[in-house]
Amino acid sequence: MLAFGILAVILLASAIWTVSAKKPVYSVVALLLHFAALAATYLMLNAEFLAVIQLIVYSGAILILFLFVIALLSSGVAPFSVGPNKMPKLAIPAVVLVLVALGAVTVGVAHLVVPVATSTGGSPVGPAGTADVFGSVGDFGKALFTTYLLPFEITALVLMVAVIGVILLAGDRSPYVPSQKQAREVRREMREAIVRGGDR
């Protein structure tokens, strides 16, 4: 319970820091802290594999991608708006609506008559690090490759669509083949250099 309290404080503070930071780099740092605390929370919930995935995929891949984009965009002049953050007109009603919805969800769960799992077929919960208990890597892998094989395959499709989309959006129009004009230019320069005496 104490560990949960400490983690909850870290999670909330880093989330607020992420949203309120002036520069996006500080947001990334705060988000890194948030993801690390979240991984620790997953460990508390017996989700070993997902805790590791959280660190590798989120902190290792996605946040580095954010950092690369920030570095790429900030190399010249300041690319981001420096003016005050304008709140759209709909924000206040939206905030009220979301608060009401979240309150309703929380109260609803509190009063939920939780059906006791009788035939879920779940594995027994054991200490972390034990093989084939609930949440262990073996348990997760077995479920992923037997019961949930089709969603796993669709995951591959989603990632492929994302890769193709990114190449279409941000990639060069002709990444490998230089245009005819460029090739002619290069040949002409080389010819002139040879005529000049090879002193390029």
């Binding site: 989120y58 708006s81 609930f134």
Partner: protein
């Protein structure tokens, strides 16, 4: 329901608050990178809830769902950042309020 050291409702409340902070970030901030990070916050609040309920029922369907959510979040971040870079290439300036070409 398996006994948990921390009540399930605490996880629900924590996740709701984090999700709400993410919503506020999307609504208030104009920097598209911070908007994308707020969306990541919301994804992770949902994931935390999946984990907590998965633990409460001792059934790993929630883990599979969280795994799929992480995949979709990775794809979304890649596409979103590509859009930011594309906008920056043409406009040399990125502001979510200025990107309104497809506004009705």
């Amino acid at each position: 329901m398996l006994p948990m050291s921390v009540p399930l409702l605490d996880y629900v409340a924590l996740s709701s608050v984090i999700f709400f902070i993410g919503v506020a970030g999307v609504l208030i901030r104009r920097n598209p990178l911070i908007v994308l990070m707020s969306i990541e916050l919301m994804f992770n609040a949902a994931n935390l809830l999946f984990m907590a309920f998965s633990r409460a029922w001792a059934h790993n369907a929630g883990h599979i769902f969280a795994f799929l959510v992480i995949t979709v979040a990775a794809a979304e971040a890649a596409i979103g950042l590509a859009i930011v870079v594309t906008v920056f290439r043409t406009a040399r300036h990125v502001d979510v309020d200025d990107v309104a070409l497809m506004k009705g």
